[in-house]
Structures are given as C-alpha cells and as structure tokens.
C-alpha cells in the first residue's frame, strides 16, 4: 500500500511510521524496565518490612500478645503490594506453624496451621520461596540465645504485581504519547523536507524535452546532500545534452532542407541540360546540313520535340501549368539516340538502338524519354572512349521495358544499389539512376540489372551474342496500361 504512494508522501509517512514504532517499542521496553524496577523495589521494601517485623514481633511472641501482633501486622501490611485487594498477607506463626495473628484474619485465621510439621524450625531461608505465581517468605523469629520463638509468614500473590504493572505503564504511555505528539509532526516535516528535492528532480525529469533548458535548470533543487547533489548534477547534464541534441537536430533539419533544395535544383538543371545539349547538337547539324530540306525539317522536328520535353519537365514542377503528355513511340527512341549522339561521338562510343513493339504503347513520352536519355547518357559515359552502347525498347502485352547495355566496367546489382543509395554522393550517375528507380516504382514497375536477353525470344541484340557477365545490362520496366498514361 505504502509503496504505491508518491515518494513525497512515502518518506514522511515512513518516518512517521518509524516514529510510531520506535515510540511503541521504547514505551514497551521502558514499561518493562519500570515494572521490573518496581518489582525489585517492592521486594526490597518487603525485605525491609520483614526485618522490622521480626524485630518487633519478638517480644510480642514471647508475651503471646495476639492483639499487638495483629496490630503490628495490620499496620505493616500497608507496605505490601496489593494488600487492599487481599493479594498480600502477613502472619506470625508459633513454633508449630499455627497462626498467632495475621494481617488478614479472614484469610489466615487465628490458630490455623499453615505448614506441615516436617519443617525444622530455624531452617527456612529468608529468601522468598517461589510458588505458583506466589511469593512466600517464612522467616524464623529467634530469641537472643537463638531459640526459635515463632515464624514470620509473608505471602504475596502474583496478581499483586498486576496493578503495579498498570500503574508503572502509565508514565510509559504518557512518555510514548508525548514522543508521538512531538516526533510525529517533526518526522512528517523532516520527511517532507527530504522528499521535496526528489519530487522536484522528478518533475524536472518529466519536463525534459517539453520545457526550455534555463527554466528546467532553475527548477532543479540546490541541495548539499551528496546523493541528491549527484542526481541533480546528472539531470543537469542530461538537460544540457538534450538541449544540444535538439539544436543539432534543428541544424540537421535546416541542412536537409537546403540539401533538398539543392537536389531539386540539380535535378531540374539535369533534366533540362540533357535536352539542351541535344538541341545544341541539332543546331550544329542544321548549320552543317541546313541546305538539305529533308535534313532541315528533321532537325526542326527534333528541336521542337526537345523543346516540348523541356516544357514538359518545367511544367511538372508547376502543377497548375501541367500539359497533356502524348504516348511514347519508337521515334522517341530515335530522338533520344540523336540527342545523345553528340556526346557519343565526342567519346567515340558506338550507339545502337532497337525498337520491338508488338502492340500499342500506353506509356507517357516525356517521362520515358527522360528515363531513356538519362540511361543512354550514363551508359555512354560508363562505356568510355571507343566503347559501345546498345539500347532496346520492348513492348508486348501489358509490359513495357527499356534495356540499356554498355561495354564499361561491370555494374553489379550491389554496386547499382550503392549508387542509387548514394545519389547525393560524388558519382554523377547516382542522381539519374535514383530518378529512374523512383519513376519505375511510382508506375508500379522496377529498375535494376538484367541477366536475360531483352524482348524475350526476339532478342534485338542477338546478331552479336556476348557473354552476359562481361557488360552492364540495366532494365527499366513499367506496366503498359492506358491508365498509366
């Protein structure tokens, strides 16, 4: 029950309880001591009374003066405990242990034989003989020449000491009550004083994370108790560390926001930069072959589609300005290859692209063109000088996939995951790969390494078979459904 109470109540209540128990024990012990002391004092008084009675009764026994013996015993019996209740008796016996007179004739009547005759007069000790709860003295009364004249008989029932117990217990009770009266409030006050710092520390701990550090530190109690001082100091350090962690988190959040803005900016620049590079290549082509009408129209169409791609990319950032996208066609693959041709030529990379559409396409052109251009440019860079890049667009049934392979160093699945996860790192391919993965996932598809031929049995690269483990082969696939578009 007590352990369920708050600590601020447990301590004072515990102290109060300890005071009560201590007072009770002290009271009991002191009462016991007092009772024993009183009993010893009573017995000492009885012993002195015995000495007095023996001396005083000697001439009365010699004179056989029953009345004066009676008055002597009657008056002396007042010294004995419990005499009023009849628990103590005095008697003078003759040589044959008959009562000459007693203090209580109704109990020890005159002439009664109180002991058998087998006792040898003069042999009794003056120490009390302990009966069944009764103390008895039989003291011989001797003449000056040692002759036994009679005996003094003292008998005290055990019940005679019970009233003494009650009387002596009263001071102990008063002392206990006084102790409780004084110590109980003191114990309560001390307990409250002891528990208050602990309660305040507990309150402060409960407020960590919800209140400001200066306020919490002000609420922490200043105490000189070593244990509480250590606890308070630890809590103070905890508050400071928590505050530092919170500030670090704030700084990290700000940095994260800035990084996100940076990534967004980089993504926009990346998405726009690629078609711009293609457009620049197209303008170079027009400048060289613009006299040819067919070539000029083809370049203009290419420039228009590149500009449309940029428009679509920018519009994606402005929800209110989104434009309707068209469905992807095999021509888009040719456009992407044309846009990347400039980069490929600069690195002397041979690019080859195949389209295998067994049915109508339903995937959007802008997003897939972006994916294809990203992957193609990444593959050209990965292939390196004098390398090769092969792309294939496969569509059949409800699946659309874009395969890209290059002759660069092998990109294992683990390495691909590392690149995607480190999209914020120094590897320029990271961000483009991450965008491809996100687009595929949002469209219910996937992006990763491939270990099978593209387009199933109709392998567009089948004319020149290569060991599958010697080159990097990635695949981007989504569902070829109308609702996707």
């Amino acid at each position: 029950m007590l352990h369920k109470l708050p600590y601020r109540l447990q301590v004072p209540l515990g102290l109060a309880l300890a005071v009560l128990i201590t007072a009770f024990l002290v009271m009991v012990v002191s009462a016991q001591i007092s009772v024993h002391s009183a009993k010893r004092a009573t017995l000492a008084t009885v012993n002195r009374a015995v000495v007095l009675l023996v001396a005083q009764s000697r001439p009365l026994i010699s004179a056989d003066d029953t009345w004066r013996i009676y008055t002597l015993l009657r008056d002396t019996a007042a010294l004995l405990p419990g005499v009023d209740a009849g628990h103590s008796r005095l008697a003078v016996l003759d040589q044959s242990y008959r009562v000459m007179a007693s203090s209580h004739p109704a109990q020890l009547e005159t002439g009664r034989k109180v002991a058998e005759g087998d006792r040898v007069p003069g042999d009794e000790a003056s120490t009390p003989m302990l009966g069944a709860g009764t103390l008895q003295w039989v003291v011989p009364v001797r003449s000056d020449d040692g002759q036994v004249l009679g005996h003094l008989w003292v008998e005290i029932d055990g019940a005679a000491f019970e009233p003494v117990w009650l009387a002596v217990a009263q001071p102990a009770l008063l002392g206990g009550a006084l102790a409780v009266f004084l110590l109980l409030p003191a114990g309560w006050w001390v307990g409250q004083r002891m528990a208050l710092p602990v309660a305040r520390i507990a309150d402060c701990i409960g407020k960590i994370g919800h209140s400001r550090e200066p306020l919490l530190c002000e609420q922490l109690p200043r105490t000189e108790a070593p244990e509480l001082w250590r606890i308070g100091d630890a809590v103070r350090r905890l508050i400071a560390e928590t505050e530092q962690r919170r500030k670090a988190e704030d700084r990290a959040l700000s940095a994260e926001r800035l990084a996100a803005v940076g990534r967004l900016t980089a993504a926009v620049a990346h998405e726009i930069n690629n078609p711009l590079a293609g457009l620049l290549t197209t303008t170079q082509t027009m400048r060289l072959h613009g006299e040819d009408g067919f070539q000029r129209l083809k370049s203009l169409d290419l420039m228009e589609r590149g500009l449309r791609q940029i428009q679509t990319t920018v519009a994606a950032l402005l929800p209110q300005a989104r434009l309707a996208d068209r469905v992807l066609t095999c021509t888009d693959l040719d456009d992407v290859v044309s846009l990347a041709q400039g980069t490929a030529r600069s690195l002397n990379v041979h690019c080859e692209a195949k389209c295998r559409c067994l049915g109508p396409l339903h995937v959007p052109s802008a997003a897939i063109r972006q994916v294809m251009l990203n992957l193609l440019l990444n593959a050209i860079k990965a292939a390196g000088p004098d390398g090769w890049v092969r792309a294939a667009l496969c569509a059949g049934g409800d699946r659309f996939s874009f395969h890209i392979a290059n002759s660069g160093s092998l990109l294992t699945p683990q390495r691909l995951e590392e690149l995607i996860e480190s999209e914020s790192g120094p590897d320029p391919r990271g961000f483009g790969l991450w965008v491809c993965r996100q687009l595929a996932i949002q469209a219910g598809g996937g992006f990763g390494t491939a270990d099978t031929s593209p387009c199933g049995q109709d392998d567009p690269w089948g004319a020149e078979p290569m060991p599958r483990t010697d080159f990097t082969h990635l695949v981007f696939w989504v569902h070829n459904k109308e609702e996707w578009a």
Partner: protein, 256 residues
C-alpha cells in the same frame, strides 16, 4: 483512666480536664493507660490521686480503696457484659457453649465484663480454658470489638456500656458484629481513690462530678460520655462482681 470508657480522644479529655480544673480550682490532668494494672500501679504508687477502674479490681483491692462515685448509665449505676461474635455464618457462635474450639478475645485480665463474667459463663457452659482454641487479651473493649469484626477472634467479651456507646456514636465496628448474650446488671466501673489519701480532693471531685448535670458544659460532657451523671454508691453495689470473683477463686484456687 482505663478502658472502661471510650475516652481516648485527647480533645475531649482536655476539655473535661479544663472543666474539672475550673470546678476544683486546681489543675486536673488525665492519664490514660491500656491496662487496668498499670493504672492501679500508678495509683498505689501515689502517682495518681484518683482512678477510674473496673469493679473487679475495686473488689480485689477494696480494703485499700475508697469509692468516690459511680456513673449513672440509663438511669442506674450499673451495666452489663456482652458476648459478641462476628457474622454467625463465619463464627458459628450463638452462645457460650459454641465457643469450644473457637478463638475468644478478652478485654483485660482485670476487667469484670471483659474477662471475669466470661470465666463464670464458660464454667457454667462446662468449657475449660483448654477447650477453646485460643484466647487473648485485646487491652480494651473497643479492641475486642475490632478483633471480632476482623475475624481475629470468633467471639469477644465486652462492656455493654462501651458497646452501646459505639453503636450510638455510629462507629463501624458494631455493624460487623452482633451481641449473642448479655449478662445481668453489675456495678458500673467506679472512680476510686486510696483509702488513706490525705486532703479533701475526693469530696471536691465528687461534688464537681455530681454537679455536672447542673450546667450546660457538664451536660455536654456527659452526653459525650453517654452517661447521665455521677452518684455516690455503696460498696455493696459490687456484690455481684464480688461473688463472681469468689467463684473464680474457688474454681482456680487463686486468691480473689
């Protein structure tokens, strides 16, 4: 004074002494002793001029003593002896014959009512002293009553006048006891003096005592004593006691 009266109150004796001093025109001092013999010894040693003793010692020493006066109790200079017991359920004593094997308390060995009468009655009951478990002297009639009340003794012999006075004064002792037998009338304990004493103190003392009913203070003193007055009595008033003493002498072979 002896235990013939309940006169152990110092204030009363002082007041009575001042009264008699005024009447006798000389200092009067009371000396109280528990034992009749002590008073007789003082009287015969002429350390006392007058003594109030029981009729039995007067009879024993009548040749050396002269009667000054005797009190009037209930209109006569006589009293009775009582045999008292405690509650009968305890004592089992309803008369003298029941005293066999019992403890009997006497007042004084020179007391008529507290000893001599009992000796006669025990003889009449056919009980020898050895037939009783124990006898003892309580040194006054009042103590006899207390001895019986406290069950120190099964029965006791007391002066009827003292007993009645205790009852009249509302003392608790008679409540715990009861009278189971009373004697015939005997001469009340007299005030005596040595027969050969010189001077007129005896006549002057009698005159003062005789005149007590005549003044208010004397009446108050007599009322406290539960007496009616004092009168001159002849020696023959104590013939009854004299007969008891003679019979006891004959039974025991001791002189009267």
């Amino acid at each position: 004074l002896t235990a013939v009266i309940l006169a152990d109150q110092a204030a009363f004796l002082s007041r009575w002494g001042r009264y008699l001093s005024a009447k006798l025109e000389r200092p009067v001092v009371f000396l109280a002793r528990e034992s009749y013999q002590d008073v007789l010894d003082l009287l015969f040693a002429r350390q006392l001029e007058c003594a109030w003793v029981c009729g039995y010692p007067y009879v024993q020493h009548q040749d050396r003593l002269t009667l000054i006066a005797a009190p009037l109790y209930q209109g006569r200079p006589q009293y009775k002896s009582y045999l008292i017991t405690g509650r009968r359920a305890f004592s089992g004593v309803a008369g003298w014959k029941d005293l066999a094997g019992k403890v009997l308390a006497y007042s004084d060995p020179l007391s008529n009512s507290g000893w001599l009468v009992a000796q006669s009655q025990l003889a009449l009951a056919g009980l020898s002293p050895a037939a009783l478990k124990k006898t003892f002297f309580a040194h006054s009639h009042r103590n006899v009553a207390e001895a019986v009340a406290s069950r120190l003794a099964h029965a006791g012999c007391v002066d009827g006048y003292v007993w009645d006075t205790m009852v009249k004064q509302g003392m608790p002792l008679p409540v715990a006891t009861e009278v189971v037998w009373s004697s015939e009338w005997y001469g009340f304990p007299p005030l005596v003096a040595l027969a050969d004493a010189a001077g007129d103190i005896q006549a002057r003392l009698f005159s003062a005592l005789e005149g007590m009913p005549g003044d208010e203070e004397g009446v108050q003193l007599l009322s406290a004593l539960n007496l009616d007055g004092f009168v001159k009595v002849p020696p023959s008033l104590y013939d009854g006691i004299r007969d008891l003493a003679r019979q006891h002498s004959l039974r025991t072979g001791r002189p009267v």
